[in-house]
């Protein structure tokens, strides 16, 4: 079932901002901070804390090609657990040796080490599926992003209730049979040549 710790519960419309302009990585993290502030998950000071994390520890938050998971630790600036989804009009470099440039910044405000686990797991599943990742990144607006998330959650909840495997269950948003086949194929063969993954193009190549 889709509960209070689900991705759709922690990623409201107001925390989703598409094709934002950012002149550098600090600016990009700030966009994520603004989205977390808009949704009520954090106060404006949290953006500075996320930036400070990168300044202290380096760009390790760029967790995959093109994707940064901006966050800091629980603090008075975190008002409640929440996530933000910010895509950039132009990718920016974080200084990561392999995963730059970044075109998606996921913001995380966490009150503890547990309340965001389910949502982060769902997000990782969605992003690791080439077809769904492409759909999410191509969504025309915030409602489109949420529609993909909620469709996936309902599909996996239904599949779990039916006792069947969820790995290749396709959300209704993945409209065509071709997209489903591509999803199945890429789930089985995620090793791309040379380990390089084009964040936007892989799903299209498979399809």
């Amino acid at each position: 079932m889709v509960g209070p710790g689900s991705l759709s519960a922690l990623l409201p419309l107001r925390a989703i901002r598409l094709r934002q302009s950012a002149r550098d990585w600090r600016d990009a993290v700030r966009r994520a901070g603004e989205a977390l502030t808009a949704s009520g998950a954090a106060s404006p000071a949290y953006a500075d804390e996320m930036i400070a994390t990168v300044e202290q520890l380096g760009p390790y938050i760029v967790i995959a090609p093109g994707i940064a998971l901006a966050h800091s630790r629980p603090s008075p600036a975190v008002l409640r657990t929440g996530l933000a989804w910010v895509t950039l009009a132009r990718p920016v470099r974080f200084g990561h040796p392999e995963n730059d440039p970044v075109s998606l910044v996921v913001g995380l405000a966490a009150v503890d080490d547990g309340a965001h686990v389910e949502a982060l797991a769902t997000l990782a599943e969605l992003l690791s599926d080439d077809v769904r990742r492409a759909e999410l990144l191509d969504a025309p607006d915030a409602a489109g992003v949420r529609a993909i998330v909620t469709a996936y959650e309902h599909a996996t909840a239904t599949a779990a209730a039916g006792g069947t495997a969820t790995a290749t269950t396709s959300a209704p948003a993945a409209a065509t049979a071709g997209a489903t086949a591509a999803a199945a194929a890429t789930v089985r063969d995620t090793a791309s040549p040379g380990g390089r993954t084009q964040i936007r193009q892989e799903g299209e190549v498979e399809a």
Binding site: L57, A64, L69
Partner: protein, 94 residues
């Protein structure tokens, strides 16, 4: 067998590493406890770990520790995790 997933704060990317490692272990048919640690407590926690998972740049900050360090580049690529655990863990070659 204890695997330590190390990230900066112990609640974002380290959590992703733990989730991916648990999936990969199931796929490999191996059993291990996976714990998350922040970079500040990683050296102490490493004393009782058999393997450390982290990023290349955080590995440099951890420095010399007893257990081997496996660095992960793409935290959402299960295949990378499976392959790296397969070669790093005893029994993973089977």
């Amino acid at each position: 067998m204890k695997i330590l997933a190390v990230c900066g704060m112990g609640l974002g990317s380290g959590l992703l590493l733990r989730m991916q490692a648990e999936k990969a272990l199931r796929q490999l048919g191996l059993k291990a406890d996976v714990e998350v640690s922040d970079i500040g407590s990683a050296r102490a926690a490493a004393q009782t770990a058999d393997l450390i998972l982290t990023t290349a740049e955080l590995a440099e900050q951890i420095g010399q520790v007893k257990p081997p360090i496996v660095t992960i580049r793409n935290f959402i690529d299960l295949n990378e995790m499976v392959e790296k655990l397969r070669s790093a863990l005893p029994g993973g070659q089977a």
